[in-house]
Symmetry: C2
Subunit: 332 residues, 2 copies
Amino acid sequence: MTNKYNNVYIKNTYTIGGIYESQGPLKKYFDRLYDQNMYFGEKSFEKAEIKLLKDNISYLLKKVNFQESDIDLLISGDLENQIAASDYAARNFSIPFLGIFNACATSGEGLIIGANFVDSKRAKNCIVSTVSHNMTAEKQFRNPTEYGAPKHKTSTFTVTGSASILLSNEKSKVKIESSTIGKVIDLGITDVNHMGAVMAPAAADTIYRHLTNLKRKPEYYDLILTGDLGFYGKKILIDYMKEQYHMDLSKVYDDAGTIIYNLDKQPVLAGGSGPCCSALVGFGYYFKQMEENKIKKILYVPTGAIFSPTLTFQKESIPAIAHAIGLEVTNK
Amino acid sequence: MTNKYNNVYIKNTYTIGGIYESQGPLKKYFDRLYDQNMYFGEKSFEKAEIKLLKDNISYLLKKVNFQESDIDLLISGDLENQIAASDYAARNFSIPFLGIFNACATSGEGLIIGANFVDSKRAKNCIVSTVSHNMTAEKQFRNPTEYGAPKHKTSTFTVTGSASILLSNEKSKVKIESSTIGKVIDLGITDVNHMGAVMAPAAADTIYRHLTNLKRKPEYYDLILTGDLGFYGKKILIDYMKEQYHMDLSKVYDDAGTIIYNLDKQPVLAGGSGPCCSALVGFGYYFKQMEENKIKKILYVPTGAIFSPTLTFQKESIPAIAHAIGLEVTNK
C-alpha cells in the first residue's frame, strides 16, 4: 500500500545515543549522550531502557516548548517482550497511546500510522518514538547469550539509544511525502547470525513496490537508507535488487547500520541494528542535513527481522518486514 | 483522542473458538470450532496459535469471496513475545502488514488504526485480526507456571481462539461510528493474579473520556462491553465509575470475560481473558446480534494489562490500557 501525503510535517526530533554511539562518527548530531554507563542511574537494563525513552519524550516536549496536552497521540514500540520499554515509558504521560511491534522496522510503522492520523486531520501533533538497548536485546535474543562466546562476523550490534519524531500538520522544513507499507517476507533463512540476509529481500520488495507504484527511479531520491542490514546485508540488497528487479540502487543507497558506527575501529561486527539504529541515523543525522538543505529527498526504509527465539528453537525460518517513508525538504 | 467516522463499515467477521470456548454459552455463534485438542495438528502450541490465525484469515477471505489482492492492509497482534503468532501467520499472505501490541486491548487498537485508514480512503478493505491460545499464554506469563499449582479466584483464563474483522468503506449493516484511544494507566497495583483490578481504572478513564467528549450518557449505548475484567474486575469498574466519575454504568454494562464461559460450571476462575476474549464475544456473538437488529449501539472497550513478566519480577507495578470503539447498526 503506497500513499502520498499533503499535510504531514516533521516539526522536530529528539535523539539520545549511548556509549558506543557516542564513540561513533555521528556523535555530535545527537541531542544528548548517555555515555557514562549502560544503567543511566537505574537498577536494571530494562529500567534503563524505559528511562531512555521517557527522558527522550520529555526532552522533545521541552525542545518544542509543548505540554503533554498539546500532543494528541503517542505511538511507540521497541524490542523488549511486550514492548515493555514503550508501555512503561508511556504510563508517565497523559497522552493517548498506540503500541506497535515490527522489530527494527518499528519507527517506519509508527511514522506511517502517525502520518495517516495527521494527514486525515484526526491528530494535530503526534509523537512517534522508539528505543533500543544493547544489553536488554542481548539478554533476550542473542545466540549464544553468554558473554565472551565468539560471534559471527555477519552478526550486528544492537544500538543503545532513543528517538522521538514530532509529526504535525503545521508546515515546516521537512515533510513526509509518501509511504509504502511492507509485507512479511520469509525466504526460508534460519541463520540468526545473519539478519542482514534475512531482511534484504523484505527491503527489496518494499523499495521496488514504492518506486514502481509512484513511477520513480531510484535516483528520484538523493538517498535510499535501509535500517540495519549491516555490511553484508547491504551488498546482498544491491545484488538482489539487480537480479530480482533489474534496479541499480548503488548510486543512491546506504545502510544506517554501516553509518552509525566506525566499523573498522569499533567492536560492532557487521554494524548497528535495533529499531533505534535507523531512527538515530535518519532523525539524528539526516533530518538535520535536510533542515540545512544539504540533502533534499530521502527514502527511509527501516528493516526488521520479526523473528521469535521460541520459534527459531522450533526450527522455523525467520520472517522480515520493511516499510518505506519518503522524506522531502519543503520550500519553507 | 476521540474521533467520529462516516465511512467505515464492518463487512464481515470470522471467529474460531477452541475447546473451552466450545463448551461455553456462545459456541453456536462462532464460525468454526477447533475443539479436538489444543494442537490443531501442529507440533507445538506456538505453531498451533499461528495456524489458528492463518486459518482464520483464510476462512474470512473465503467467506466474503475475496482474494488476498482485494485486501489493502492487515493489522494484527497477539500475546506472544514479538507478536510471533501474527508475524508468522502474516508471512502466508501477500498483504501489507502492521504489527501491533496492546495485550488484550489489541483488537481495539487494530480497529482504530484500521478505521482511520478506511475513513481517510487510503484503504478500501482492511482486515483487523487477533489470536490467543491458552497454553502459549500459560507458558509465557503465568505465576506460578507449573500446572497443578493452586490459582487465585481472581485469576482469569486465557481464551483460545481467533477473530478477524473486515473493515470496508462499502456500506453494510454495522458501522464503526466513533472511537477513543486509551492512555496508559498505572495505579500501582502489583498483583499479577488480579488483572481485573489492574485494568478497571484504564477502562474507566477511556469510557469516561469517550462519553464526555461526545456528550453522551452511558445509556446512549445499548451495551458497554469491556474486554476481560472478569467477575471481580466488572464489579470494580462499576464502583470506580460511580466514585471517580459519578457515572452509573450498571444498566448497560457487561464484560466479555464473564460472557464467553459459563463461570459456574467451567474451570475458568474469574472468567475469560486474552485479546481474543473481547474479540470473540464482540465479533462472534454481538456482531451477529447487530446484523439481526437485536441490538443497535455497542461501545466495545477491549482492556489490556500491558505488563512485562521481567519488570514484574523487578517489582514494578502493572500498567493497563483500554480503547473504546462505538459500533452502530445502520439503516441498510
